[in-house]
Protein backbone atom coordinates (compact mmCIF):
# COMPACT_ATOMS: atom_id res chain seq x y z
CA UNK A 1 0.00 0.00 0.00
CA UNK A 2 1.28 3.36 -0.88
CA UNK A 3 2.32 5.71 1.86
CA UNK A 4 -0.46 8.25 2.52
CA UNK A 5 0.28 11.84 3.44
CA UNK A 6 -2.10 11.54 6.40
CA UNK A 7 0.04 8.73 7.79
CA UNK A 8 3.20 10.80 7.49
CA UNK A 9 1.54 13.73 9.23
CA UNK A 10 0.09 11.56 12.01
CA UNK A 11 3.37 9.81 12.72
CA UNK A 12 5.35 13.04 12.80
CA UNK A 13 2.90 14.82 15.09
CA UNK A 14 2.76 11.75 17.32
CA UNK A 15 6.54 11.74 17.61
CA UNK A 16 7.39 15.42 17.70
CA UNK A 17 4.19 17.26 18.69
CA UNK A 18 4.58 21.02 18.34
CA UNK A 19 7.94 20.80 16.60
CA UNK A 20 6.24 19.99 13.30
CA UNK A 21 3.46 22.19 11.97
CA UNK A 22 1.75 23.86 9.02
CA UNK A 23 1.10 20.72 6.99
CA UNK A 24 -0.10 21.61 3.52
CA UNK A 25 -0.24 19.80 0.22
CA UNK A 26 1.34 21.94 -2.51
CA UNK A 27 0.73 20.28 -5.89
CA UNK A 28 2.10 16.76 -5.48
CA UNK A 29 4.28 17.35 -2.43
CA UNK A 30 3.38 17.42 1.26
CA UNK A 31 5.03 20.49 2.77
CA UNK A 32 5.50 21.23 6.45
CA UNK A 33 7.54 23.27 8.86
CA UNK A 34 9.98 21.89 11.37
CA UNK A 35 11.43 23.83 14.30
CA UNK A 36 15.12 24.43 13.47
CA UNK A 37 16.38 22.80 16.65
CA UNK A 38 14.56 19.56 15.78
CA UNK A 39 15.64 19.14 12.16
CA UNK A 40 18.26 16.50 12.82
CA UNK A 41 16.00 14.24 14.86
CA UNK A 42 13.02 14.71 12.52
CA UNK A 43 15.14 13.80 9.53
CA UNK A 44 16.66 10.84 11.34
CA UNK A 45 13.16 9.64 12.21
CA UNK A 46 11.96 10.10 8.63
CA UNK A 47 14.94 8.18 7.34
CA UNK A 48 14.93 5.31 9.81
CA UNK A 49 11.25 4.71 10.59
CA UNK A 50 10.05 1.41 9.17
CA UNK A 51 6.94 2.86 7.49
CA UNK A 52 8.20 6.29 6.46
CA UNK A 53 11.49 5.21 4.85
CA UNK A 54 12.51 8.57 3.39
CA UNK A 55 15.83 7.18 2.28
CA UNK A 56 17.00 9.90 -0.06
CA UNK A 57 17.77 13.58 0.46
CA UNK A 58 17.01 15.09 -2.92
CA UNK A 59 17.80 18.71 -2.37
CA UNK A 60 18.79 21.36 0.16
CA UNK A 61 18.42 25.05 -0.57
CA UNK A 62 17.92 28.40 1.13
CA UNK A 63 15.34 31.14 0.71
CA UNK A 64 15.35 34.73 1.91
CA UNK A 65 11.99 36.29 2.86
CA UNK A 66 12.78 39.92 3.72
CA UNK A 67 9.06 40.76 4.14
CA UNK A 68 8.53 38.18 6.90
CA UNK A 69 8.99 38.72 10.66
CA UNK A 70 12.57 39.06 11.79
CA UNK A 71 12.54 35.60 13.36
CA UNK A 72 11.39 34.00 10.08
CA UNK A 73 13.56 35.79 7.53
CA UNK A 74 15.44 32.80 6.20
CA UNK A 75 14.32 29.33 5.34
CA UNK A 76 16.22 26.16 4.62
CA UNK A 77 14.23 23.82 2.42
CA UNK A 78 14.87 20.08 2.32
CA UNK A 79 13.28 17.82 -0.27
CA UNK A 80 13.19 14.19 0.79
CA UNK A 81 12.15 11.22 -1.25
CA UNK A 82 10.93 7.76 -0.34
CA UNK A 83 12.05 5.64 -3.29
CA UNK A 84 10.17 2.55 -2.20
CA UNK A 85 6.72 4.16 -2.20
CA UNK A 86 7.73 7.01 -4.52
CA UNK A 87 6.58 9.76 -2.15
CA UNK A 88 8.22 13.14 -1.77
CA UNK A 89 8.06 15.62 1.08
CA UNK A 90 9.30 19.16 1.54
CA UNK A 91 10.55 20.37 4.91
CA UNK A 92 10.93 24.05 5.69
CA UNK A 93 12.88 25.43 8.61
CA UNK A 94 12.51 29.14 9.27
CA UNK A 95 15.47 30.94 10.79
CA UNK A 96 15.90 34.42 12.29
CA UNK A 97 17.57 37.30 10.46
CA UNK A 98 20.26 37.63 13.11
CA UNK A 99 22.74 34.80 13.08
CA UNK A 100 20.71 32.18 11.19
CA UNK A 101 22.01 28.75 12.16
CA UNK A 102 20.75 25.19 11.99
CA UNK A 103 22.13 21.71 12.57
CA UNK A 104 23.93 20.13 9.66
CA UNK A 105 22.46 16.89 8.33
CA UNK A 106 25.75 15.65 6.86
CA UNK A 107 25.80 12.93 9.54
CA UNK A 108 22.67 11.41 7.93
CA UNK A 109 23.30 12.13 4.26
CA UNK A 110 26.81 12.66 2.91
CA UNK A 111 25.36 14.45 -0.08
CA UNK A 112 24.21 17.33 2.13
CA UNK A 113 27.81 18.48 2.46
CA UNK A 114 28.16 20.58 -0.67
CA UNK A 115 24.52 21.59 -0.73
CA UNK A 116 24.86 23.09 2.74
CA UNK A 117 28.06 24.78 1.71
CA UNK A 118 26.21 26.27 -1.24
CA UNK A 119 23.42 27.49 1.05
CA UNK A 120 25.99 29.03 3.37
CA UNK A 121 27.80 30.58 0.44
CA UNK A 122 24.71 32.32 -0.91
CA UNK A 123 22.65 33.05 2.20
CA UNK A 124 25.08 33.06 5.09
CA UNK A 125 23.17 30.36 6.94
CA UNK A 126 25.49 28.54 9.35
CA UNK A 127 25.24 24.77 9.59
CA UNK A 128 26.35 23.58 13.02
CA UNK A 129 28.45 20.44 12.93
CA UNK A 130 29.31 20.73 9.25
CA UNK A 131 32.81 19.33 8.64
CA UNK A 132 33.93 21.95 6.16
CA UNK A 133 31.69 24.99 6.11
CA UNK A 134 33.33 27.35 3.65
CA UNK A 135 32.36 29.00 0.40
CA UNK A 136 32.01 26.77 -2.61
CA UNK A 137 30.98 28.58 -5.78
CA UNK A 138 32.03 32.11 -4.86
CA UNK A 139 35.58 33.10 -4.04
CA UNK A 140 36.78 32.86 -0.45
CA UNK A 141 37.50 36.59 -0.19
CA UNK A 142 33.88 37.55 -0.82
CA UNK A 143 32.27 39.39 2.10
CA UNK A 144 28.57 39.35 1.17
CA UNK A 145 26.02 36.59 0.73
CA UNK A 146 24.84 37.36 -2.78
CA UNK A 147 21.45 35.64 -2.92
CA UNK A 148 20.11 37.76 -0.07
CA UNK A 149 17.62 40.25 -1.34
CA UNK A 150 19.46 43.31 -0.11
CA UNK A 151 21.82 42.73 -3.01
CA UNK A 152 19.81 43.45 -6.14
CA UNK A 153 21.14 42.80 -9.61
CA UNK A 154 22.61 45.78 -11.34
CA UNK A 155 20.13 47.73 -13.44
CA UNK A 156 20.59 46.40 -16.97
CA UNK A 157 19.70 49.80 -18.42
CA UNK A 158 22.27 51.91 -16.61
CA UNK A 159 24.21 54.26 -18.85
CA UNK A 160 26.87 55.63 -16.52
CA UNK A 161 29.39 52.90 -17.27
CA UNK A 162 32.57 53.81 -19.03
CA UNK A 163 32.93 51.50 -22.01
CA UNK A 164 36.72 51.77 -21.97
CA UNK A 165 36.83 49.70 -18.79
CA UNK A 166 35.08 46.82 -20.51
CA UNK A 167 37.39 46.51 -23.45
CA UNK A 168 35.12 48.41 -25.83
CA UNK A 169 36.60 51.24 -27.83
CA UNK A 170 35.41 53.15 -30.82
CA UNK A 171 37.66 50.99 -32.97
CA UNK A 172 36.24 47.62 -32.02
CA UNK A 173 32.51 48.18 -31.87
Amino acid sequence: MALENAVIQEKLIGQFGMKVSEFVQLHDILTFEVAPDAILEVMKFLKEDATLRFNFLTDVCGIHYPEYDSNRQFAVVYHMHNWLDSVRIRIKCFLPANNPEIDSVTSLFLGANWQERETYDFYGITFKGHPQLKRILNMDEMEVFPMRREYPLEDAGRTDKDDRFFGRTQNNC
Binding site: L26, H27, W83, F109, G111, L137, P146, L153
Partner: protein
Amino acid sequence: MSELLLPPEQRYANIIEKRRNEDGSELTILNLGPTHPATHGIFQNILLMDGERIIDGEGTVGYIHRAFEKIAENRPFYQINVLTDRLNYCSAPINNMGWWMTVEKALGIEVPKRVQYMRVIVMELARIADHIICNSVLGVDTGALTGFLYVFQFRERIYEIYEEISGARLTTNMGRIGGFERDWSPAVWTKLDAFLEEFPEVWQEFENLLVRNRIFMDRTINVGAISAEKAMSYGFTGPNLRAAGIDYDIRVAQPYSSYEDFEFNIPVGKSGDTYDRFCVRNAEVWESISIIKQALAKMPEGSYHADVPEYYLPPKEDVYTTMESLIYHFKIVMGEVPVPLTEVYHPVEGGNGELGFYLITDGSRTPYRLHFRRPCFIYYQAFNEIVRGQNLSDAIATLSSLNVIAGELDA
Protein backbone atom coordinates in the same frame (compact mmCIF):
# COMPACT_ATOMS: atom_id res chain seq x y z
CA MET B 1 39.69 26.50 13.28
CA SER B 2 39.23 23.14 11.65
CA GLU B 3 42.01 21.87 9.41
CA LEU B 4 39.56 21.39 6.56
CA LEU B 5 38.76 25.08 6.35
CA LEU B 6 42.29 25.90 5.24
CA PRO B 7 42.98 26.24 1.52
CA PRO B 8 43.89 22.72 0.30
CA GLU B 9 47.39 23.62 -0.87
CA GLN B 10 48.23 24.93 2.60
CA ARG B 11 46.66 21.93 4.31
CA TYR B 12 48.60 19.53 2.10
CA ALA B 13 51.86 21.44 2.58
CA ASN B 14 51.48 20.80 6.30
CA ILE B 15 50.87 17.10 5.70
CA ILE B 16 53.89 16.86 3.39
CA GLU B 17 56.08 18.52 5.99
CA LYS B 18 54.80 16.21 8.72
CA ARG B 19 55.23 13.02 6.71
CA ARG B 20 58.73 14.01 5.65
CA ASN B 21 59.75 14.42 9.27
CA GLU B 22 58.02 11.20 10.30
CA ASP B 23 59.23 8.65 7.79
CA GLY B 24 61.04 10.62 5.12
CA SER B 25 58.36 10.05 2.45
CA GLU B 26 58.26 12.48 -0.44
CA LEU B 27 54.66 13.49 -1.09
CA THR B 28 53.78 16.12 -3.68
CA ILE B 29 50.89 18.36 -4.55
CA LEU B 30 49.46 18.07 -8.04
CA ASN B 31 47.23 20.76 -9.40
CA LEU B 32 44.81 19.11 -11.84
CA GLY B 33 42.88 21.77 -13.65
CA PRO B 34 41.05 24.12 -13.82
CA THR B 35 41.79 24.12 -17.55
CA HIS B 36 43.30 20.70 -17.97
CA PRO B 37 42.11 18.97 -21.15
CA ALA B 38 41.48 15.73 -19.27
CA THR B 39 38.97 17.26 -16.88
CA HIS B 40 36.62 18.13 -19.77
CA GLY B 41 35.45 21.28 -18.08
CA ILE B 42 36.60 24.10 -15.90
CA PHE B 43 37.08 22.67 -12.46
CA GLN B 44 40.11 22.10 -10.34
CA ASN B 45 41.32 19.22 -8.20
CA ILE B 46 44.21 19.74 -5.86
CA LEU B 47 45.65 16.32 -5.22
CA LEU B 48 48.09 15.09 -2.64
CA MET B 49 50.19 12.47 -4.38
CA ASP B 50 52.57 9.76 -3.36
CA GLY B 51 54.25 9.11 -6.69
CA GLU B 52 51.41 8.08 -9.00
CA ARG B 53 49.01 7.31 -6.17
CA ILE B 54 46.42 9.78 -4.91
CA ILE B 55 46.42 10.09 -1.12
CA ASP B 56 43.83 12.81 -0.84
CA GLY B 57 42.20 15.43 -2.98
CA GLU B 58 39.99 18.44 -2.78
CA GLY B 59 37.91 19.84 -5.58
CA THR B 60 37.45 23.55 -6.05
CA VAL B 61 34.50 24.43 -8.19
CA GLY B 62 32.81 27.65 -9.25
CA TYR B 63 35.10 28.77 -12.06
CA ILE B 64 32.15 29.31 -14.39
CA HIS B 65 29.54 30.27 -11.83
CA ARG B 66 27.14 32.64 -13.57
CA ALA B 67 24.63 33.31 -10.78
CA PHE B 68 21.73 31.76 -12.68
CA GLU B 69 19.51 31.57 -9.61
CA LYS B 70 19.97 35.28 -8.96
CA ILE B 71 19.42 36.20 -12.60
CA ALA B 72 16.32 33.99 -12.70
CA GLU B 73 14.74 36.00 -9.88
CA ASN B 74 14.78 38.99 -12.19
CA ARG B 75 13.53 37.43 -15.39
CA PRO B 76 10.09 36.43 -16.68
CA PHE B 77 9.52 32.70 -17.04
CA TYR B 78 10.06 32.55 -20.78
CA GLN B 79 13.46 34.23 -20.49
CA ILE B 80 14.69 31.69 -17.95
CA ASN B 81 14.69 28.98 -20.58
CA VAL B 82 17.97 30.28 -22.01
CA LEU B 83 19.56 29.90 -18.58
CA THR B 84 18.56 26.25 -18.36
CA ASP B 85 20.29 25.58 -21.71
CA ARG B 86 23.55 26.51 -20.13
CA LEU B 87 23.31 24.12 -17.22
CA ASN B 88 23.94 20.74 -18.78
CA TYR B 89 24.78 21.94 -22.28
CA CYS B 90 25.33 18.38 -23.52
CA SER B 91 21.61 17.70 -23.21
CA ALA B 92 20.07 21.18 -23.32
CA PRO B 93 16.60 20.12 -24.60
CA ILE B 94 15.99 18.01 -21.48
CA ASN B 95 16.59 21.09 -19.36
CA ASN B 96 14.32 23.16 -21.59
CA MET B 97 11.48 20.66 -21.47
CA GLY B 98 11.94 20.21 -17.72
CA TRP B 99 11.64 23.93 -17.19
CA TRP B 100 8.48 24.25 -19.29
CA MET B 101 6.92 21.33 -17.45
CA THR B 102 7.72 23.04 -14.15
CA VAL B 103 6.04 26.25 -15.27
CA GLU B 104 3.07 24.34 -16.63
CA LYS B 105 2.70 22.53 -13.33
CA ALA B 106 2.72 25.84 -11.47
CA LEU B 107 0.21 27.42 -13.85
CA GLY B 108 -1.97 24.32 -14.10
CA ILE B 109 -1.65 23.89 -17.86
CA GLU B 110 -2.46 20.56 -19.48
CA VAL B 111 -0.52 20.02 -22.70
CA PRO B 112 -1.85 17.91 -25.60
CA LYS B 113 -0.71 14.32 -25.96
CA ARG B 114 1.07 15.14 -29.20
CA VAL B 115 3.23 17.73 -27.48
CA GLN B 116 4.09 15.26 -24.75
CA TYR B 117 5.20 12.70 -27.32
CA MET B 118 7.20 15.30 -29.23
CA ARG B 119 8.89 16.24 -25.97
CA VAL B 120 9.71 12.61 -25.28
CA ILE B 121 11.37 12.33 -28.69
CA VAL B 122 13.44 15.45 -28.12
CA MET B 123 14.44 14.44 -24.60
CA GLU B 124 15.50 10.97 -25.70
CA LEU B 125 17.52 12.43 -28.56
CA ALA B 126 19.23 14.64 -26.02
CA ARG B 127 19.93 11.65 -23.81
CA ILE B 128 21.51 9.83 -26.74
CA ALA B 129 23.64 12.90 -27.54
CA ASP B 130 24.73 13.14 -23.90
CA HIS B 131 25.67 9.48 -23.68
CA ILE B 132 27.49 9.63 -27.02
CA ILE B 133 29.69 12.36 -25.61
CA CYS B 134 30.29 10.74 -22.26
CA ASN B 135 31.02 7.24 -23.48
CA SER B 136 33.11 8.17 -26.48
CA VAL B 137 35.18 10.61 -24.45
CA LEU B 138 35.74 7.89 -21.90
CA GLY B 139 37.20 5.93 -24.80
CA VAL B 140 39.46 8.87 -25.63
CA ASP B 141 40.67 9.10 -22.05
CA THR B 142 41.65 5.47 -22.12
CA GLY B 143 43.38 5.82 -25.48
CA ALA B 144 40.79 5.04 -28.17
CA LEU B 145 40.16 8.01 -30.43
CA THR B 146 38.50 6.10 -33.26
CA GLY B 147 35.14 5.48 -31.61
CA PHE B 148 34.89 9.08 -30.56
CA LEU B 149 35.39 10.45 -34.06
CA TYR B 150 32.99 7.87 -35.47
CA VAL B 151 29.99 8.40 -33.19
CA PHE B 152 30.41 12.17 -33.05
CA GLN B 153 29.13 12.28 -36.60
CA PHE B 154 25.86 11.07 -35.19
CA ARG B 155 25.80 13.61 -32.44
CA GLU B 156 26.07 16.04 -35.32
CA ARG B 157 22.99 14.44 -36.89
CA ILE B 158 21.08 14.93 -33.65
CA TYR B 159 22.14 18.57 -33.60
CA GLU B 160 20.82 18.94 -37.12
CA ILE B 161 17.45 17.70 -35.89
CA TYR B 162 17.54 20.25 -33.06
CA GLU B 163 18.39 22.86 -35.63
CA GLU B 164 15.32 21.99 -37.69
CA ILE B 165 13.14 22.17 -34.60
CA SER B 166 14.45 25.26 -32.86
CA GLY B 167 17.06 26.89 -35.09
CA ALA B 168 19.88 26.33 -32.61
CA ARG B 169 22.29 23.49 -32.04
CA LEU B 170 23.95 23.47 -28.65
CA THR B 171 21.98 25.88 -26.48
CA THR B 172 18.66 25.13 -28.05
CA ASN B 173 16.16 27.36 -26.19
CA MET B 174 13.51 24.99 -27.46
CA GLY B 175 9.79 25.17 -26.79
CA ARG B 176 7.37 27.55 -25.12
CA ILE B 177 4.98 27.37 -22.20
CA GLY B 178 2.42 24.83 -23.44
CA GLY B 179 4.32 23.30 -26.34
CA PHE B 180 6.64 24.16 -29.19
CA GLU B 181 7.16 27.49 -30.90
CA ARG B 182 6.22 26.06 -34.30
CA ASP B 183 5.15 22.75 -35.73
CA TRP B 184 7.94 20.40 -36.75
CA SER B 185 8.78 20.73 -40.41
CA PRO B 186 8.80 17.65 -42.71
CA ALA B 187 12.61 17.84 -42.59
CA VAL B 188 12.53 16.99 -38.88
CA TRP B 189 10.63 13.79 -39.49
CA THR B 190 12.81 12.69 -42.41
CA LYS B 191 16.00 13.43 -40.49
CA LEU B 192 14.63 11.58 -37.51
CA ASP B 193 13.80 8.54 -39.63
CA ALA B 194 17.22 8.59 -41.28
CA PHE B 195 18.90 8.85 -37.89
CA LEU B 196 16.97 5.91 -36.49
CA GLU B 197 17.76 3.93 -39.62
CA GLU B 198 21.51 4.48 -39.55
CA PHE B 199 22.48 5.09 -35.95
CA PRO B 200 21.84 1.63 -34.39
CA GLU B 201 24.39 -0.03 -36.63
CA VAL B 202 26.99 2.58 -35.74
CA TRP B 203 26.28 2.33 -32.05
CA GLN B 204 26.62 -1.45 -32.28
CA GLU B 205 30.02 -1.01 -33.90
CA PHE B 206 31.05 1.44 -31.21
CA GLU B 207 30.01 -1.05 -28.55
CA ASN B 208 31.93 -3.84 -30.27
CA LEU B 209 34.98 -1.63 -30.31
CA LEU B 210 35.07 -1.14 -26.56
CA VAL B 211 32.86 -3.49 -24.54
CA ARG B 212 35.07 -6.58 -24.80
CA ASN B 213 38.25 -4.68 -25.56
CA ARG B 214 41.01 -5.99 -23.29
CA ILE B 215 42.75 -2.64 -22.89
CA PHE B 216 39.52 -0.81 -22.19
CA MET B 217 38.38 -3.43 -19.69
CA ASP B 218 41.70 -3.33 -17.85
CA ARG B 219 41.50 0.42 -17.61
CA THR B 220 37.91 0.56 -16.36
CA ILE B 221 36.91 -2.56 -14.43
CA ASN B 222 37.24 -2.04 -10.68
CA VAL B 223 38.25 1.55 -11.28
CA GLY B 224 36.36 4.27 -9.47
CA ALA B 225 33.80 1.98 -7.88
CA ILE B 226 31.20 3.17 -5.41
CA SER B 227 28.82 1.01 -3.40
CA ALA B 228 25.06 1.39 -3.67
CA GLU B 229 24.72 2.63 -0.07
CA LYS B 230 27.44 5.23 -0.49
CA ALA B 231 26.00 6.34 -3.82
CA MET B 232 22.58 6.86 -2.25
CA SER B 233 24.00 8.73 0.69
CA TYR B 234 25.95 10.99 -1.65
CA GLY B 235 22.80 11.80 -3.58
CA PHE B 236 23.75 9.97 -6.77
CA THR B 237 21.04 9.75 -9.41
CA GLY B 238 20.91 8.79 -13.06
CA PRO B 239 23.24 6.34 -14.81
CA ASN B 240 25.90 6.66 -12.08
CA LEU B 241 23.46 5.42 -9.46
CA ARG B 242 22.04 2.71 -11.69
CA ALA B 243 25.57 1.45 -12.36
CA ALA B 244 25.81 0.78 -8.62
CA GLY B 245 22.74 -1.44 -8.88
CA ILE B 246 19.76 0.72 -7.87
CA ASP B 247 17.01 0.87 -10.47
CA TYR B 248 15.81 4.38 -9.71
CA ASP B 249 14.72 6.26 -12.81
CA ILE B 250 12.28 9.17 -12.61
CA ARG B 251 10.82 8.29 -15.98
CA VAL B 252 9.45 5.17 -14.29
CA ALA B 253 9.19 6.20 -10.63
CA GLN B 254 7.16 9.35 -11.32
CA PRO B 255 6.40 9.44 -15.04
CA TYR B 256 6.06 12.83 -16.67
CA SER B 257 5.24 13.80 -20.24
CA SER B 258 3.52 10.42 -20.91
CA TYR B 259 6.54 8.23 -20.25
CA GLU B 260 4.08 5.70 -18.84
CA ASP B 261 2.91 4.99 -22.42
CA PHE B 262 6.22 3.47 -23.44
CA GLU B 263 7.81 0.11 -22.83
CA PHE B 264 11.44 0.29 -21.81
CA ASN B 265 13.91 -1.26 -19.41
CA ILE B 266 16.07 0.39 -16.81
CA PRO B 267 19.58 -0.96 -17.31
CA VAL B 268 21.44 -1.47 -14.04
CA GLY B 269 25.01 -2.40 -13.23
CA LYS B 270 26.46 -4.24 -10.27
CA SER B 271 29.70 -2.83 -9.00
CA GLY B 272 29.28 0.89 -9.69
CA ASP B 273 32.68 1.12 -11.35
CA THR B 274 33.72 2.97 -14.47
CA TYR B 275 33.02 -0.03 -16.69
CA ASP B 276 29.49 -0.46 -15.31
CA ARG B 277 28.74 3.21 -15.81
CA PHE B 278 29.89 2.86 -19.41
CA CYS B 279 27.73 -0.23 -19.96
CA VAL B 280 24.65 1.34 -18.35
CA ARG B 281 24.92 4.35 -20.64
CA ASN B 282 25.40 2.13 -23.66
CA ALA B 283 22.29 0.17 -22.78
CA GLU B 284 20.33 3.36 -22.12
CA VAL B 285 21.04 4.52 -25.64
CA TRP B 286 19.32 1.37 -26.95
CA GLU B 287 16.34 2.04 -24.69
CA SER B 288 16.18 5.66 -25.91
CA ILE B 289 16.18 4.50 -29.52
CA SER B 290 13.33 2.16 -28.73
CA ILE B 291 11.35 4.92 -26.95
CA ILE B 292 11.74 7.25 -29.92
CA LYS B 293 10.56 4.53 -32.29
CA GLN B 294 7.52 3.84 -30.10
CA ALA B 295 6.71 7.54 -29.87
CA LEU B 296 6.91 7.90 -33.64
CA ALA B 297 4.69 4.87 -34.17
CA LYS B 298 2.08 6.06 -31.68
CA MET B 299 2.32 9.79 -32.44
CA PRO B 300 -1.19 11.18 -31.86
CA GLU B 301 -2.82 13.81 -34.02
CA GLY B 302 -3.34 17.26 -32.60
CA SER B 303 -1.78 20.61 -32.07
CA TYR B 304 1.86 21.34 -31.35
CA HIS B 305 0.90 23.58 -28.44
CA ALA B 306 -1.71 23.81 -25.71
CA ASP B 307 -4.60 26.23 -26.14
CA VAL B 308 -3.46 28.74 -23.53
CA PRO B 309 -3.63 32.19 -25.15
CA GLU B 310 -2.72 33.86 -21.86
CA TYR B 311 0.74 32.29 -21.87
CA TYR B 312 1.43 31.16 -25.43
CA LEU B 313 2.38 33.92 -27.87
CA PRO B 314 -0.08 34.20 -30.79
CA PRO B 315 1.20 33.94 -34.39
CA LYS B 316 2.63 37.23 -35.57
CA GLU B 317 0.19 37.66 -38.47
CA ASP B 318 -2.72 37.44 -36.04
CA VAL B 319 -1.16 40.08 -33.80
CA TYR B 320 -1.30 42.49 -36.73
CA THR B 321 -4.83 41.64 -37.80
CA THR B 322 -6.92 40.61 -34.79
CA MET B 323 -7.64 42.60 -31.65
CA GLU B 324 -7.65 39.63 -29.27
CA SER B 325 -4.24 38.38 -30.37
CA LEU B 326 -2.81 41.87 -30.08
CA ILE B 327 -4.06 42.11 -26.48
CA TYR B 328 -2.62 38.71 -25.54
CA HIS B 329 0.67 39.51 -27.24
CA PHE B 330 0.91 42.75 -25.30
CA LYS B 331 -0.01 41.12 -22.01
CA ILE B 332 2.50 38.30 -22.38
CA VAL B 333 5.36 40.56 -23.41
CA MET B 334 4.60 43.17 -20.74
CA GLY B 335 4.14 40.54 -18.05
CA GLU B 336 0.46 41.06 -17.25
CA VAL B 337 -0.35 37.37 -17.11
CA PRO B 338 -1.93 35.78 -14.04
CA VAL B 339 0.45 33.63 -12.01
CA PRO B 340 -0.85 31.74 -8.97
CA LEU B 341 0.96 31.86 -5.63
CA THR B 342 2.49 28.44 -5.33
CA GLU B 343 5.54 26.26 -4.91
CA VAL B 344 6.41 23.42 -7.24
CA TYR B 345 9.23 20.95 -7.51
CA HIS B 346 9.46 19.17 -10.82
CA PRO B 347 12.13 16.55 -11.49
CA VAL B 348 13.10 15.14 -14.87
CA GLU B 349 15.55 12.40 -15.70
CA GLY B 350 18.40 14.44 -17.15
CA GLY B 351 21.41 13.09 -19.00
CA ASN B 352 23.31 12.54 -15.77
CA GLY B 353 20.64 12.32 -13.09
CA GLU B 354 17.64 13.88 -11.47
CA LEU B 355 17.40 17.45 -12.70
CA GLY B 356 14.92 19.28 -10.49
CA PHE B 357 13.42 22.74 -10.64
CA TYR B 358 12.16 24.18 -7.36
CA LEU B 359 10.06 27.20 -8.24
CA ILE B 360 8.39 29.59 -5.80
CA THR B 361 6.08 32.15 -7.35
CA ASP B 362 4.80 35.33 -5.74
CA GLY B 363 2.15 36.27 -8.31
CA SER B 364 4.52 38.35 -10.42
CA ARG B 365 5.96 37.30 -13.74
CA THR B 366 9.35 36.49 -12.27
CA PRO B 367 10.02 33.65 -9.81
CA TYR B 368 10.33 34.59 -6.16
CA ARG B 369 12.96 31.92 -5.90
CA LEU B 370 14.16 29.36 -8.38
CA HIS B 371 16.52 26.61 -7.34
CA PHE B 372 18.04 24.14 -9.75
CA ARG B 373 18.74 20.69 -8.36
CA ARG B 374 21.80 20.00 -10.44
CA PRO B 375 22.63 16.30 -10.31
CA CYS B 376 26.35 16.54 -10.99
CA PHE B 377 26.92 19.22 -8.37
CA ILE B 378 25.57 16.78 -5.83
CA TYR B 379 27.36 13.61 -6.91
CA TYR B 380 30.68 15.23 -7.84
CA GLN B 381 31.43 15.71 -4.14
CA ALA B 382 31.99 11.96 -3.92
CA PHE B 383 34.81 12.15 -6.46
CA ASN B 384 37.62 12.61 -3.96
CA GLU B 385 36.46 9.71 -1.88
CA ILE B 386 36.16 7.50 -4.97
CA VAL B 387 39.64 8.20 -6.28
CA ARG B 388 41.46 8.09 -2.96
CA GLY B 389 44.15 5.42 -3.21
CA GLN B 390 43.90 5.12 -6.99
CA ASN B 391 46.42 6.01 -9.64
CA LEU B 392 46.17 9.36 -11.32
CA SER B 393 45.40 7.83 -14.70
CA ASP B 394 42.47 5.95 -13.14
CA ALA B 395 41.18 9.15 -11.62
CA ILE B 396 41.00 10.67 -15.10
CA ALA B 397 38.95 7.74 -16.39
CA THR B 398 36.69 7.92 -13.32
CA LEU B 399 36.12 11.63 -13.74
CA SER B 400 35.17 11.26 -17.36
CA SER B 401 32.82 8.34 -16.63
CA LEU B 402 30.98 10.36 -13.97
CA ASN B 403 29.78 12.72 -16.72
CA VAL B 404 30.42 15.90 -14.78
CA ILE B 405 29.42 18.93 -16.84
CA ALA B 406 31.03 22.15 -15.64
CA GLY B 407 28.09 24.32 -16.65
CA GLU B 408 25.75 22.32 -14.50
CA LEU B 409 28.24 21.99 -11.65
CA ASP B 410 28.62 25.73 -11.27
CA ALA B 411 25.18 26.98 -12.32
